[in-house]
């Protein structure tokens, strides 16, 4: 019987009557931008449509690849295999290198699939596992001629690796020769690299030899690599001619965009000749090099731009630089493959990638590039380094300045430190990121172990700043003298200069953001880094905004809450929070899409075309993924004021909440909004709300997948959803107390507190004491809904917020 594969509906012979077998390549998250975007939008139906379109255009088999950073490949691939199995007539090619994904897909695919692919990169472990699965489920397998030394370049090498794979797959795992399709992986003939001039010749020779020397085995090839780096129209022609030549050499299957294959008969004789000369590296005496002639021949024509905008014929160095600048990963592997032929990986990093990132940083500093775009650039940098690393010696890059990063003890705030990691490591520095909640002892130990040149510490709340201060003495005692960089929202230059610098021998530097950290490291390298200085006299003294009326009405009636004591609420529909999301703060603040120097129209376009869609996608995804799990513990408690304190009766105990009083007129203090015992007492509301731990899990996943931009987006989104929940619940409590709800406020009304009363979060200026979390936790008992308190008074999960709710109509925000 002829070797064939099959879907639920039909069998397809691998050796077509008129070869080759066409394998559609567009349903590939790495190869097709369109497919990737649909996948990222979780639009499986549209993904299947791309597969169907290729079938309509003549593909015999459809390649399906969903591997993409930040995605759950197993979930995506199995879901799509299931959908395709039902709607595609063409059999599937399961494109993955993850054995577990392959096994899962083979198990559920109702026909005989092809697996794409195996290789010998790891010496054969994955290969054996995948071949056994293929044997079990009766699949064919594409085998790439790659071993631990990388992609084979010469025919000799390609055949040698093919033999080695054959020995394992057929000899050990029991596959039949016709179950194997060898892909000899061609390099481009379009780069001008002298060592690659015969790339096509080597590939065709390898195909010929594999067919002859490994009888029964088949061959497959991704054809379009042959022309990488050339202009799009010329590529189409060259690819088609090459396909024809490869088939003549014995190629059975081609992985192509079926729509872009031009029948040979439609290619003019002149076009064909220049292509053949290039492919066969033919140069008659007195003639120019075949590549020169090819380029000259095709540039003489007017070009129609390619719909995917790929390959524009520029120098690969410039192209890579551009790609970093533009945050474009589309053809990264190809561009790097070309560059690797000419430069050592470390030179690609130091000569192209790092300068590109520096440039990005400078533009950011000048306000000409927004943070989200910087993160996208860093992703390209990171992906490049990851692709280059296998070709580098372990010791290379060891000379780089080393930075140890940690979030201090009792603090789970990850993202500030991680952004610093992203910026530093993608500017060529070596970063040891040792995580969150790191005690000073561990920091000391790791600093010595890694021989860190600098230490960077991060923290979210004021308590973490205190910890930083305390650990300075410990660092000194341990004999450390390396510079220490400090960052985090609650830190100020004043605090660093006055409380931290004097405790430590080396420089201690306040860093407002990750770029300040980068600047400090650069100053360190230049021998110019000095401790933060703070001059009380010249420093700008922030104003203290607040209501200017001093007289607080003592006669307002105390509302009657529906109950006294504590209650939990866990059945809040997450979608009710969306209308309360502070979109401006999210876009401009959390995400960094600021208008800055942009024209109003340009900014509106950016918001409408880029930012809004991202926002809408996150709302959809977080609902679909169940990432928002709102939970509330709240209550109303009898209370009375005593000077600057509010005494709260809960569970038969009295808890004292102390608040500071403004040092200047109008001398406000939160306690003044409550009646004293003599005045008849009052009622105070309290809440702790959380959107649960899922967001932290999801952001962690994105960070680990180097999906920096999405990581930053989701984190920003999660914190605004948390605020929306606080806003929502405050509205519920106002309604319950009969002092109006959130209705008709609109989000801007909420921003300016256009409602009766106020809520004050512990740790904010009018009620700065975070220790208040101790009594609060004792009577709201949020542990029941999964919230705990660290020794720094931080609430975990991070997306949690607490407040005291005040009903007094004069209560508004004020600074102390």
């Amino acid at each position: 019987m002829k070797p064939s594969v099959a879907s639920l509906y039909q069998a397809v012979e691998l050796q077509q009557e008129i070869p080759p077998l066409l394998i559609g390549e567009r349903a590939n998250a790495n190869g097709s931008k369109k497919f990737r975007e649909l996948l990222l939008a979780d639009d499986y139906q549209a993904c299947v449509k791309i597969a169907l379109e290729q079938e309509a255009r003549g593909a015999h088999v459809i390649d399906l690849c969903t591997a993409y950073a930040g995605r759950d490949e197993l979930a995506d691939l199995t879901a799509l295999v299931r959908l395709c199995a039902g709607s595609l007539k063409a059999p599937l090619m399961i494109d993955s290198t993850t054995p577990a994904c392959i096994e899962a897909c083979l198990r559920l695919y109702p026909g005989r699939a092809i697996v794409n692919s195996i290789n010998l990169e790891d010496g054969g472990d994955n290969l054996r596992r995948i071949c056994r699965a293929a044997k079990k489920y009766g699949a064919a397998v594409v085998a790439l001629t790659i071993d631990d030394k990388g992609m084979a370049m010469t025919a000799e090498e390609k055949v040698r690796i093919a033999r080695a794979i054959h020995a394992i797959a057929v000899g050990e795992c029991g596959l039949r020769p016709q179950d194997l399709l060898f892909d000899c992986l061609t390099f481009t003939v379009g780069s001008g690299d002298a060592t690659l001039r015969d790339a096509a010749v080597q590939t065709m020779e390898a195909i010929r030899r594999i067919k002859a020397e490994l009888p029964g085995c088949l061959t497959a090839l991704g054809v379009s690599n042959i022309s990488f780096g050339l202009a799009p129209q010329a590529r189409k022609v060259l690819n088609s001619v090459f396909l024809h030549e490869a088939v003549k050499a014995g190629l059975d299957a081609a992985i192509v965009d079926a729509a872009k294959v031009i029948p040979l008969a439609r290619i003019s004789a002149e076009d064909r000749d220049v292509c053949l000369d290039l492919l066969h590296d033919r140069q008659a005496p007195g003639e120019k090099e075949p590549l020169m002639r090819f380029i000259a021949h095709f540039t003489a024509r007017t070009e129609t731009p390619d719909e995917e905008g790929q390959g524009d014929g520029v120098q690969p160095e410039a192209q890579l630089f551009r790609m970093v600048m533009d945050g474009d990963k589309e053809q990264l592997e190809d561009v790097l493959a070309i560059l690797r032929e000419r430069f050592a990986p470390i030179d690609i990093i130091n000569q192209i990638l790092v300068p590109a990132m520096r440039h990005v940083g400078e533009l950011f500093g000048k306000g000409e590039l927004l943070l989200p775009f910087v993160l996208q650039s860093a992703e390209v940098m990171k992906a490049s380094v990851t692709l280059l690393e296998p070709y580098m010696d372990k010791s290379e890059g060891d000379a780089a300045t080393t930075v140890l990063l940690a979030t201090v003890q009792g603090d789970v705030h990850d993202i500030g430190k991680n952004l610093v990691d992203i910026i530093l490591s993608n500017n060529g520095y070596k970063v040891h990121n040792i995580g969150i909640k790191v005690p000073a002892e561990t920091i000391i130990e790791k600093a010595k172990e890694t021989r860190a040149d600098l230490i960077g510490l991060s923290g979210l709340l004021v308590k973490s700043a205190m910890i930083m201060q305390e650990s300075m003495a410990q660092f000194t005692e341990a004999g450390l003298t390396v510079p220490i960089l400090l960052g985090g929202a609650a830190l100020t230059p004043k605090f660093v200069a006055e409380s931290c610098v004097p405790e430590y021998g080396g420089p201690v530097v306040y860093c407002a953001d990750a770029f300040a950290g980068l600047k400090a490291v650069q100053e360190f390298e230049a021998g110019k880094l000095t401790s933060t200085a703070y001059d009380d006299v010249t420093a700008v003294k922030a104003m203290k905004p607040g209501i200017r009326v001093a007289e607080i009405d003592r006669t307002v009636s105390v509302p009657t809450p529906p109950f006294l004591g504590q209650r939990y609420v866990t059945d809040i529909d997450p979608s009710v929070l969306f209308p309360l999301i502070n979109v401006e703060a999210l876009f401009r603040g959390r995400w960094g899409y600021r208008r800055g120097k942009m024209e109003a129209g340009e900014y509106a376009g950016l918001i409408q075309k880029t930012v809004r869609p991202l926002y809408e996608e996150l709302m959809r995804k977080s609902l679909a993924g169940g990432w928002i799990q709102p939970k509330v513990s709240y209550g109303y408690f009898p209370c009375w004021s005593e000077g600057e304190a509010v005494l709260v009766r809960a569970d038969d105990a009295v808890h004292r909440f102390s608040f500071p009083r403004q040092a200047e007129a109008p001398y406000l203090c939160i306690a003044d909004y409550f009646k004293s015992d003599r005045e008849g007492g009052d009622v105070a509301g309290f809440f702790i709300v959380t959107i649960g731990p899922k967001m932290s899990e999801e952001t962690g996943r994105l960070y680990r997948a180097d999906a920096y931009h999405e990581y930053h987006l989701l984190h920003g989104f999660s914190v605004e959803v948390t605020d929306a929940l606080a806003e929502y619940w405050h509205g519920v409590m106002r309604r319950e107390m009969g002092i109006g709800g959130t209705a008709a406020q609109g989000i801007h009304g909420v921003v300016i507190q256009n409602y009766q009363g106020s809520r004050y979060g512990f740790g904010y200026p009018a009620c700065p004491d975070l220790e208040a979390h101790n009594p609060l936790f004792s009577f709201l008992r949020p542990e029941e809904i999964g919230i705990s308190l660290t020794e720094n008074m931080q609430m975990v999960p991070e997306q949690t917020t607490s407040a005291i709710v005040v009903h007094h109509p004069q209560a508004k925000y004020f600074a102390v």
């Binding site: 003294k541 905004p545 607040g546 200017r548 703060a585 401009r588 208008r595 921003v751 600074a815």
Partner: protein, 55 residues
């Protein structure tokens, strides 16, 4: 040309020169650029550099 409104990127408060900012005792008619350096957002206390031209 009417003086431009500015928005606090941290909390969304809008500074409208036509209204001024009573919380900071800024009378109506003061352009954003003319606000003193030590002026902060009346809602969240973010400094001036955290403001972005609104529309």
């Amino acid at each position: 040309m009417t003086p431009e409104r500015y928005i606090c990127v941290n909390c969304g408060y809008i500074y409208d020169p036509a209204a001024g900012d009573p919380m900071n005792e800024i009378s109506p008619g003061v352009a954003f650029a003319a606000l003193p350096e030590e002026w902060v957002c009346p809602m969240c206390y973010a400094p001036k550099d955290q403001f972005d031209p609104l529309d």
